[in-house]
Structures are given as structure tokens and as C-alpha cells.
């Protein structure tokens, strides 16, 4: 946008000063109106989240009263959620499951993506597409066998069970995203390392990983976000022991659990870290979400 405008400068340069002033005026007002429109839309979309955060600081009575922006903020809902409802247990489950599955997926995916990017064979393309196609399998299509298998081997309602499911669920995306980042890396550097006698392991550890760290980090963050927010397997495979935050929040849906301020406080805590992760990696995660089809 700016480059285009500077490029058109020479033509306006030739125009006398008196003609330039109103043109700038119009531009400024156009930008003003775009700003008003853009911000209104953004705030409208964000409103439910804003309202939820606000409600978390109200008392239960204020939360269900007529909507109002004026109230004296209190931390009593946060206190209740943390001390009486055992929020920490669910949060720990979420952290363990999201980060555990991400680490595992990265460990399995880095060698695979490395070989696909730097040692491609005739089969590489086919393998990548096949991995993508496993992601298309609707979870509900395999709910019954997974449930029965997990029941038989005692993985129902365990964190290990969820870690296994999430690792495999995100593995295709992680491989794909790493593959696109590795491919973008200049091959000469790896070549030079090999010339100097670096082994594959050294090459990966001392050249590839440090140089593609931002890419690996955003891949990891996307995997954490997807696991953290996953709500099909967590609702169906856990009950009390291994329930992560998605399942805990779902417990507020029962009629006897209708406490809006507590729901809001718990929800705010549950989404805050992920929201920040999402903001940080929004640009890079497009690759992972679209399998490199949109960069």
C-alpha cells in the first residue's frame, strides 16, 4: 500500500501545491472513515470475549442482572473457581496434554520433515499428500473403535490416552508445516556443513534447528493451540481424572452449574494463554492451517 503510494508520488509532485492539499484532505477523511468502520467491526466481533472477561469480575448477582458496564470489580469468582472448583487440576491436564502431545509430535515430525525437504525421493510427494488425507478422516467416524480400544487397554480418562490421540491428530499438520519451513531454508548452508564433515545429527542439531527455530516455534504453538482447544476427543474420552479445560468448561452447561460469573472467570483463564499464542503466530500458522496452499 505504502510502496504504491510512494511510486505515484512523482506525478503528484508535478501538480501545484494548491491542488495537492485537498487531495490529502480527502485521503485523510477516507482513512478516518475506514478506521471507524474497521474498528466497529473488530469490536463487534470481539465483543463476546470482552463481555466474558468483564463478567468474570462481577458477582453472580450482577452477572445475571441487566447488562451493565458499571459495577465494582471483584475477584470472588476467580477465587471460587481456583479454590473450590479445583481449576488447577483441569489446567494441569490441559498443559500436560497440549505440550506433551506437541513435543512428541515435533520429535516424530522433525526427522520426517527433514528427509522430505532435503532428501526427497519419488515417493515424498505422495507421502505428504497421504498424510494430509489422514487429517480428513472425521473423528466421529472412528469414535466407536477408539473408544472401545481405549476401554480395553485402560486408556479411557487418562492423560496418556489424550496425548496419543492429539499427537496423531496433529502429526500431519506438524510435518507439513515443518516441511514448508525447511524447504524455505537455503540448502547451501547444510551443504557447507556436510562438506565440513558434519554428520546428519550434527547437521540437524547445529544448523537446521537453530536456523529454523522461529518456524519450529510457530509450528509448536499451532499444535499447542489445536490440542488445547480440541473438544471432541476430550469430551468423549475423559470424565474426571484426565479432563482438560475444554471438558471442565463443558460442565457449566448443566442447569445446576449455571453460574455466569464463575463460568466467565474460568473461561477467561482457560483462553487467555492460547489467545496470546494465537496473536503471536497468526501469520505463520496460515501455512499449517492450509497445508502450505496459502502462504
Amino acid at each position: 500500500m505504502t510502496t504504491a503510494r510512494t511510486k505515484s508520488l512523482p506525478s503528484s509532485h508535478a501538480a501545484p501545491l494548491t491542488q495537492r492539499a485537498p487531495w490529502l484532505g480527502i485521503l485523510r477523511s477516507r482513512r478516518l472513515w475506514l478506521g471507524v468502520l474497521g474498528w466497529s467491526v473488530a469490536l463487534l466481533i470481539f465483543f463476546p470475549i470482552f463481555w466474558m472477561v468483564l463478567t468474570g469480575f462481577k458477582t453472580e448477582a450482577e452477572a445475571i442482572a441487566e447488562p451493565s458496564l458499571v459495577f465494582s470489580p471483584t475477584l470472588e469468582s476467580y477465587d471460587a473457581v481456583q479454590n473450590r472448583a479445583g481449576y488447577a487440576r483441569f489446567a494441569i491436564n490441559s498443559v500436560v496434554v497440549a505440550f506433551g502431545s506437541t513435543l512428541l509430535a515435533l520429535l516424530i515430525a522433525i526427522p520426517a520433515a527433514y528427509s522430505m525437504a532435503f532428501l526427497p525421493t519419488r515417493r515424498t510427494k505422495g507421502t505428504l499428500l497421504w498424510m494430509l488425507s489422514t487429517k480428513m478422516l472425521p473423528p466421529v467416524g472412528v469414535l466407536v473403535p477408539i473408544y472401545l480400544l481405549f476401554r480395553d487397554v485402560g486408556l479411557l480418562d487418562t492423560r496418556t490416552g489424550l496425548v496419543i490421540v492429539y499427537t496423531l491428530m496433529n502429526l500431519p499438520i506438524v510435518v507439513w508445516m515443518l516441511y514448508t519451513f525447511f524447504k524455505d531454508m537455503p540448502r547451501d548452508i547444510l551443504e557447507a556443513g556436510r562438506m565440513d564433515g558434519a554428520s546428519t545429527l550434527q547437521e540437524v542439531l547445529y544448523l537446521l534447528l537453530p536456523l529454523t527455530l522461529p518456524g519450529i516455534a510457530s509450528t509448536g504453538l499451532l499444535s499447542v493451540i489445536l490440542s488445547w482447544n480440541e473438544a471432541f476427543w476430550s469430551l468423549n474420552l475423559t470424565s474426571s481424572q484426565a479432563a482438560p479445560l475444554t471438558a471442565y468448561i463443558a460442565s457449566f452447561s448443566s442447569p445446576e452449574g449455571l453460574f455466569w460469573a464463575k463460568l466467565s472467570a474460568a473461561s477467561t483463564m482457560a483462553i487467555a494463554p492460547i489467545l496470546v499464542f494465537g496473536w503471536l503466530t497468526q501469520k505463520q500458522m496460515v501455512r499449517g492451517l492450509t497445508f502450505g496452499a496459502v502462504k
Binding site: 467491526v41 466481533i45 467416524g141 466407536v144 475444554t246 492460547i274 497468526q282
Partner: protein, 296 residues
């Protein structure tokens, strides 16, 4: 030089195989075992509540399923949900992407606010909308409606499907926006500038330059959303539980009811097979498109 390269290639073949082996074999197991079991169960008489009744059922499960009005109702609901959410998110996402591509004060922050709902876990979005937004007495929407002197709407009992569509669209609109905004960044500004010089208005530019440029990104958004929207679950689970009646029971929720509430493994598996087939019809197109992209 030449020698090391050729030998590197043959060793590379073996090496790449062993490096990919863990990922490939795990995914293969993850795909084949459950898929095979679902297919097997779908031809079996298998209800966890009736342990005595077992054995080969032939096409019985499918017969029951296809003559069950619940299936057709669920298919219709699934279609409506996918269709409406797609229409809202794709049209809305395109317009918003164009808007947020413009320069204005604090556009970066406004953009971040607008894509935020995508990062909110589905159970939270559904419950926040159900309670704080759409509650017939104390929700913000009812309060707004009453402000204008109109009668309050009991969203989830009178418009259950619409309510779910609104919630899901709110979650996926930011996804479309994020993808399309990224795609817009590769739009050739000189081309737009040239069109403007030739006297093209903003609407002409949108239809003849922006939209054609976004064509591929839009189809990617449609296909990825379809795959996820075909099996919306958590949003229904925490709000309507598929009701009232079957009003908000989609295919995914119907399978869940058959499997984990009725314990009818055979029937649920038959439903699962149908869901897999439907998803694969979409998947074929997506995979083809990604493949084309991989070549370039």
C-alpha cells in the same frame, strides 16, 4: 564432487525411509486400525447393552440407518449448518479481509481483535453465547432487542439451529479472515494502481482484480471449513444436546447418541462409515488442489 552426490542420493533413499518411518507407520496404524474396525463393526450385530446378540448382520445396520428418519433429519441439519456457516464466513471473511487490508489507525490491533474468536475453545464460545449473549431474559442480545421495543427472542428454543449457526460462524469467520488476509498480501499493488489510473472504481477493482486473486484461497477456505464443519460436535453438546427433538442433531451428534448413549456399536459404526465417505468426497478435491500447489 559428482561421485559424492550420486552416492549421497542412493544412501539418501534409505536414510529418508528410516527418518520417515516413525511418522508414516504411526499414522498408518492410526488410520487403518480404527477404519478397519469401524467398517467391521458396521456389518456386525453389536450392542453393548445386549451382550447376547452378536454375529454378522450383513447390511442390517445400514438398512436400519437408512430407514431411520433421524438419519435424514441429521443429514439435512448437517447440510444446513455447513451451508449457512460457509456462506456467512466466506462472504463475510472476504469483505472483512478487504477492509482490514486498508490502512487505518491501529489496524494491526483491530485485526488481532477480529481474528481472536478462532483461538477460543469451542466449549467456551458456545457457553458464552448461550448464556451471556442469547439468554432470553438476561442476555445482551435480548437487552438490545428490548431497547428497540421489540419482543425478546428465546434463541435456543425458538431458533435452535440459527443459534448454533451464529455461534459456529462467529468461530470460523476469523479463520476465513486470517487466510484471506494473508492471501491478499500477495496481491500485486501495481496492478490495482494501474486499474485505478484507468478509472476503475473500488467495486470494479474488487470484482475484477481482488476476487479473481482470492479465488484459490477462497476454495481452500471452503474445503477446510467443510471438513471441520461436517462434524461440529462440542457446540451442540454444551448448548442444545441435539434438541429440541432432533432440531440440532447433525450427523456427528447422531453417531455420538447411537454410540455412547444407546451403546449400539453396529449402528454407530454404519453412521461413521457414512461420515467418512462424505468427508472423503470433499477431501479428494482438497488433496488435488494441494497437490497442484506442491508442484509449482
Amino acid at each position: 564432487m559428482n561421485k559424492t552426490r550420486t552416492s549421497g542420493r542412493t544412501v539418501g533413499g534409505l536414510r529418508s525411509l528410516s527418518l520417515q518411518a516413525p511418522a508414516v507407520s504411526l499414522l498408518l496404524l492410526w488410520m487403518l486400525i480404527p477404519l478397519g474396525m469401524t467398517l467391521w463393526f458396521s456389518f456386525q450385530r453389536y450392542n453393548l447393552l445386549m451382550p447376547g446378540m452378536t454375529g454378522f448382520a450383513g447390511l442390517e445396520n445400514y438398512e436400519y440407518l437408512f430407514t431411520d428418519p433421524a438419519l435424514w433429519s441429521a443429514m439435512g441439519t448437517t447440510l444446513l449448518m455447513v451451508g449457512w456457516v460457509l456462506a456467512i464466513t466466506v462472504v463475510g471473511g472476504t469483505l472483512l479481509a478487504v477492509l482490514f487490508q486498508q490502512e487505518f489507525m491501529g489496524q494491526g490491533i483491530a485485526r488481532v481483535l477480529a481474528i481472536s474468536p478462532f483461538f477460543v475453545m469451542p466449549t467456551v464460545s458456545a457457553l458464552v453465547w448461550k448464556n451471556m449473549m442469547m439468554h432470553p431474559a438476561n442476555g445482551v442480545l435480548s437487552w438490545l432487542v428490548e431497547l428497540f421495543g421489540l419482543p425478546a427472542v428465546d434463541w435456543f428454543s425458538s431458533l435452535p439451529l440459527t443459534s448454533i449457526i451464529i455461534i459456529v460462524a462467529w468461530q470460523w469467520l476469523p479463520f476465513a479472515l486470517l487466510i484471506l488476509l494473508t492471501a491478499l498480501q500477495s496481491l500485486d499493488e501495481d496492478q490495482v494502481e494501474a486499474a485505478r489510473m484507468d478509472g476503475a472504481g473500488p467495486i470494479a477493482i474488487f470484482f475484477f482484480i481482488t476476487l479473481p486473486h482470492l479465488k484459490r484461497a477462497i476454495s481452500v477456505v471452503i474445503m477446510i471449513e467443510m471438513i471441520f464443519l461436517l462434524t461440529i460436535f462440542a457446540e451442540i453438546f454444551v448448548t442444545t444436546s441435539g434438541g429440541p427433538g432432533l432440531a440440532t442433531t447433525n450427523l456427528a451428534y447422531l453417531i455420538y447418541i447411537r454410540a455412547l448413549l444407546d451403546f449400539d456399536v453396529g449402528m454407530a459404526s454404519a453412521g461413521g462409515v457414512i461420515a467418512i465417505i462424505l468427508a472423503n468426497i470433499v477431501a479428494i478435491f482438497l488433496v488435488r488442489m494441494v497437490a497442484k500447489n506442491l508442484e509449482s
